[in-house]
Amino acid sequence: MELARAAREGDESAFEEIMRRYSPRVFRFAAKFFRQRSLVEEAAQEVFLKAFTELGSFEGRGSMEGWLTRITTNTCLNLLRSSKRRPELTLSDLSHDETNWLDNNLTAAAAAQHQSTERSLVAADLAGRVLQTLPADDQLVLTLMDGEDASVKEVVNLTGWSESKVKVQAFRARRKMREAVEKLLARGRKSGSTRTA
């Protein structure tokens, strides 16, 4: 609170201290929505610029971390909304590694194999590409609820949406994501059976 007050009064070093303390958290949170480092940095920078201009609205009732996380959520949502949505992802868009990952994860032993860092990165890339075919609000709610295991209440708190909006949005987003993956799997099976034939 002291730091916030000092920064509000124009103390640059106080604001720098706020950035030093909270930027790792802001970066970690923004990285959940973007795969490119440049976009994560852009989001984090925008968060702190907004935070500086809105320091007057920080009343110190909640934590500075929570306040910054809410700003990060809204900034990321705005960036997701402004970025172009990809058209439907088809199997031909996937790299060899991504196709392999899908094939392997269809087997029962998939979960156990799903360990190496390289494979995780392939999965993260693929996830990013599938998510990019969905609207921004769907990406946000899926990342928070199904990726981060955030509760409905937490999402309400972060986004300012109503509880029913969060529930409906999550329901629709899950369906869209599942259908997109299901299409990829079905095409994979078809092309696999064609290859074996």
């Binding site: 604001f15 930027s23 959940k32 269809l106 799903h114 995780s120 199904d146």
Partner: protein, 160 residues
């Protein structure tokens, strides 16, 4: 109906929140239903993808704070100069509109009335003043017939 039920189980909440009973119900059902089996597999894979998606972390680059402060200063400078130029422009507009208003008033006060009188004089052959004042001297010397002609504009019919 049972297909719908399985799919709604998958969509009502995060995959991780499915309890043992839900999973047993789903597994029993997908043994006989290909449609639900592929939906279930897709839901499992979506869950894995999303977990990997959020697991990636980035650390702030070394000069991140310096860069943000520089951008902040730049924006403030732009805002300051912008607001100064805005005030300057507003003041300029106000001064020029005031000057224009004064000029217009001056024109209406000094130039237009003289022009109006001149133009009135030029446009009308007779004015009331001319008739009543300017021509009084002439009219005094005029005969009754001329006077009537001047006032009524009609020549007296000569009496027969």
């Amino acid at each position: 109906m049972r297909d719908e039920h399985i799919i709604s189980l998958l969509e009502n909440g995060p995959f991780a929140e499915l309890n043992e009973n839900d999973l047993v119900t789903i597994r029993l059902h997908v043994g006989d239903c290909d449609g639900c089996l592929s939906a279930f597999e897709a839901a499992q894979i979506s869950r894995l993808l999303l977990q990997e998606h959020v697991a990636v972390e980035f650390e702030p680059p070394p000069f991140f704070h310096t860069r943000v402060l520089a951008t902040l200063r730049e924006r403030q400078a732009t805002n300051d100069s912008w607001s100064f130029s805005k005030v300057w422009r507003a003041a300029g507009a106000l001064a020029s509109s005031m000057a224009a208003a004064v000029a217009l008033l001056a024109v209406f006060t000094f130039v237009v009335p003289e022009n109006q009188i001149t133009s009135q004089q030029a446009s009308t052959g007779y004015s009331a003043e001319e008739v009543i004042l300017g021509q009084t001297a002439q009219l005094e010397d005029a005969s009754d017939g001329q006077l009537l002609t001047t006032i009524y504009g009609v020549d007296e019919e000569p009496a027969r």
